[in-house]
Each structure stands twice: as C-alpha cells, then as structure tokens.
Symmetry: C2
Subunit: 310 residues, 2 copies
C-alpha cells in the first residue's frame, strides 16, 4: 500500500487502529490535543508537532523564526482546545555541520514565544540528524472541564466563525503568527463555543474535521471569507481557493450558537490586539454535506482540498 495513495489522514487512521485506547483517556488521537484526567474541575492537555527541514522550513529562513514556529504551532493546538499551555520538551534533530550560533538563535526564538504564553521548556533530547534538521515540541497544558472544546460538538444552526484572515501564509505569516491562546480563552470563558480547531491545513481541509467529528454539514458563504492581503492570486475564485487551501493560517475556526456570534464579534472588536471575527457559514444537517454559497447566490459543492502532508 502506497502512502501517497491513502494520504495523510488515511495513514493516521490506519496507524491509530493499532493503538489501544486507554481507559483513563477523555479524548485521544483525533483532536488538536489529547484530553486527560487531571483533577475534579480540570483536564490535562498533551500534544506534539514537529517541523522538518525542506518540508516546513529551509535553512535560508532566520533560525529564531524556525524556533519560534516550532513552539507556536503547539501553542496553537492548545489554544484550539480552549486551554492554557504549561510545559514543553523539545527534541532537536541536529545537523552537526551547522554552527552553534544557528541553534542558539533557534532556541532564542522558541523561548521567546514560550515566555509570552507562560510556557517553560523543562527538558528535551538532542540527536544527530545529518540529513535534515528537525525540531519536535511536545507540550502539556490544562483546561477547565467546562471550557474544554473539541472538534466534535458543533450543532445544527450554529454559526461558523473564523478569526483573522486566511491564505498567503507562506509570504511570512507562517513563521510569525500569533498563537490564538488569549483569543481562545476569551471565547471559551464568555461564549458557548461548541467546537473549535486551529487552521493549519486550510479551512477547506480543517472544517472537514469539525464536520466529521460533530456529524454535521456546513454552508459556507464564499463572499464572507476574510482573504489575507498576502494572497497573490488574481480573480475572485483563485483568491478564494488560496484563502481556503493554502494552510498554515493558525487562526481559529469555531462553532457557536448563531445568536452569540454578533456579541463575540463585538467583544473581539473591543479587545486591543485581537483579530476580527468573521461569520463565514452555518452548521447544517450531516446529510447536506459541505456546501459553498457562491457570490451569485448559487449553492453547490466545490472540490477543494486542504494541504496534504504526503
């Protein structure tokens, strides 16, 4: 069986079947972070995410931004659970030919964004990896049980809301995005967020996870998609395609009761540094699938794919 044929998610599904679920696990593989028992009122969160040279970064990029991103993508996973990040361990696959200075800058970038969000790097492993540098961060966190937000839980009639703007991330944002920890915390504390995910593979791909796990469908209004300025394509549909499929936005996509959407938007507008919230769609019956409403008002399927890792 060829990996490219089954795709990343087929691959993960095949492997997950080999793993035994633990009886002390609230939510295992299949969300942005694992949810585990912690105490009477809170859950522990646990996630990991790696960056590989040649795939997620090149050695031409500033080392401190590579380090920053390695930590930030994990922070983004904790954010999407509504959680607070806590402790990290870092595995560095070291190319021995690079100078110490390179790794120092990488660690500085990593520490910088960790500090911003109260995370302590408590350990790690350094291994030789002569063919390709890699950085893998594992991150723990916690969340109040009542605020824990999964990919499942979206309900028919919910508004689908996205933070910030989408697409064109490769122009720079993918290395410098702000993990939406504070924004997600504000959302889960003040609103009834039913389901949430961070957009790493593009809305067209990541929305699918919410729909599948919540057993619902969605209607997306294409003229409401917030297209980032860095999107370079010309023409409405090519630009939209880029916004929906580029990936690495690290914005939040969430579902909440439609009647709370306006007040969530107003709340974000009042908060300095918070991005805009845009209501991009609504949750519908599973049998209706994922439909896009085009600017001419016509509603149809659109064969878009999120970023595929292999």
């Amino acid at each position: 069986m060829n990996l490219r044929k089954i795709g990343e998610f087929g691959f993960i599904e095949q492997l997950s079947q080999l793993l035994r679920p633990g009886n002390d696990v609230v939510k295992g593989i299949g969300d942005d972070a694992a949810v585990l028992p912690r105490d009477k009122s809170t859950y522990a969160l646990f996630t990991c995410d790696a960056l590989v040279e040649g795939i997620h970064f090149t050695l031409n990029m500033p080392a401190h931004l590579i380090g920053r991103k390695a930590m930030a993508v994990n922070l983004s996973d904790i954010a999407s659970m509504g959680g607070i990040p806590q402790h990290a361990v870092v595995t560095l696959g070291v190319k021995p030919t690079l100078p110490l200075r390179f790794y120092q800058k990488l660690y500085q970038g990593l520490q910088e964004v960790a500090s911003l969000f109260g995370v302590t790097v408590v350990g790690g492993d350094t291994v030789s990896s002569p063919k390709a540098l890699f950085v893998d961060v594992a991150l723990t966190g916690w969340v109040e049980k009542k605020h824990c937000t999964l990919r499942q839980g979206a309900q028919r009639g919910d508004a689908l809301v996205v933070s910030g703007s989408l697409g064109g991330s490769l122009a720079g944002k993918h290395l410098q995005f702000t993990p939406r920890i504070k924004e997600a915390r504000a959302l889960v504390k003040h609103f009834s967020v039913h389901a949430m995910i961070d957009l790493s593979d593009g809305l067209a791909g990541d929305l699918g996870h919410i729909l599948k796990q919540s057993h619902v469908g969605a209607r997306i209004f294409l003229n409401r998609i917030p297209i980032a300025r860095s999107v370079t394509a010309k023409g409405f549909l090519p630009r939209l395609r880029q916004a929906l499929c580029d990936g690495e936005d690290y914005e939040l996509l969430f579902a909440l009761p439609a009647k709370q959407a306006a007040s969530a938007q107003a709340f974000f507008a009042r908060h300095k540094g918070f991005p805009c919230l845009r209501v991009v769609g609504e949750v519908i019956r599973a049998s209706q699938g994922l439909r896009y409403v085009f600017p001419d008002g016509k509603e149809k399927k659109w064969d878009l794919h999120g970023y595929q890792h292999f």
Copy 2:
C-alpha cells in the same frame, strides 16, 4: 563554534542557558525526566527521546523493533526517576517511499511495549521526512514525592550498584532491552536509593552525570563490572572498555547506603525475571574524582568516554 568541538553535553549546556527556568518546575533540564508539580504527594514526570534513521537504527532492522525501542528508551527514562509511565505522544517523521506495512509494524512494536507497562499513546504528529525516518516519543509519568530519584543525591559511602550486564548492546540488546520500570519501582519502594540514572551512553559516561550532579567522586572496582556475553573484544581491558563505553545498555546505575546493598541484591535474586545487581563501586569525596581499581589492586584514573552523539 563547531558542534563536534564542544560535544553533545557542551551543546546542551549552551542551549540550556538560553531557556528560562520556570518557578513551577521541581527539576528541569539535566535529569532523565523533568519533575513537575502534580498533587500533594506526587510529582509529574515528562521526558522525550528520538530515534533517527542512520544514527540509532537502519531500515534493515525489523520495523517492530524500531518502534519498540522508540518507546522503550523513554520508559527507561521514567524508570530511572523511580516513576510510573502514563501517556505518550508519538511524532513520526515519515519517509513516503516506505510501504504502509513498515509503519504498521513499527506502531505494533511501539504499542506492544507500551501496553506491557500500562502506557497509552494518546496522540501524535505525522510529518513528511523524505531524507531520514525518525520517531520521537514524549512520555509523561508520575512518582510519589518520597520515591522520586534524581541524578543528584548520591552520598559519600554509598554503594554504586548496576543492574544486569554491560556492553555489546549493538549485537541485539539495544533493540530488545527490558525497560527497568518494575526493578526501579521495587528499589525506590524498598530501599533508600539516593541517586539513579539509566545507562544509555555507557557507565563511563553516565556515572559522570551522577558524580557531577551529586558533587561526589567514585571508586569503581573493575573486576566487579558485569561484562555482557555479547562483548566481543579479547583481553580483560578491551572487554572492560567495551562494557563501560558501548552504551545502550538501558540498565540502572544507582547509589544507595552501603549497608542496604546486600539486601537489595537478595531482593532481586528472589524476584523472577529481575536481573542480577552488582556492587561495582563506592561513592567518595568529589576532590578524589573518578578512580578505577584495577585487578592488580592499583587505583588510577582511566580516560574512558561514554558514547558521544556528535
């Protein structure tokens, strides 16, 4: 600055200086696992360890043993703290050219040893890594505060004890060793273990960590070193050198009051499946450094080095 010049531990020290210690960390970088607050009577443990193709394994080796080892080296780190492992996340750096079957076997091996020790794999990340396969496991665990055993804490007069036999691990043991979780738990529950480490880089290297962090020296009796059958060198000193420097033994090295050594040995002898314990030395004053007692009774320094990763 060249990495090979400063060596792995110089490198780790340089990077560690860039990280800010957290005020909620009991023991951060510099032990086999990080020690973190958990509840009134226990600590949380957190560690990670990666295997890289061409460095720690080759694709000629059975995939299930590669997976097994990726989990087992982490279990060994939790063992050396006296702890109980709990939850793991697994990052797989995937070579898309290998068949699905390969990864399934790798995961089977990983799950097999995880199950043996009550560990649940709760999440992970799969990334494309076309140039070199890698597997990185991050593992949490816990330990009673009174049983938590660090590298520091060895006291003058303590016996230095090693489990099992040493050297020649590349002949097979390095892929199939038993993480000494049960043995370590028995030790911390029934004896006053002052300091402990798992032998990954060879006794000659790893003993140094206990001495440095405990601010003590050691006298090692060379004729008491348990040399593994798989050691291939000829002649007493070459065989010893292999036993002390080969690395990847994943046995326990610990310090406990000399008067408890015999009863710990008897305890292990009574337990089916437990390895032999050997008293290989004693803890002395730091100013005396690390001394080896040769079979002729002469005591001198011996310039041995543990395995250097780069």
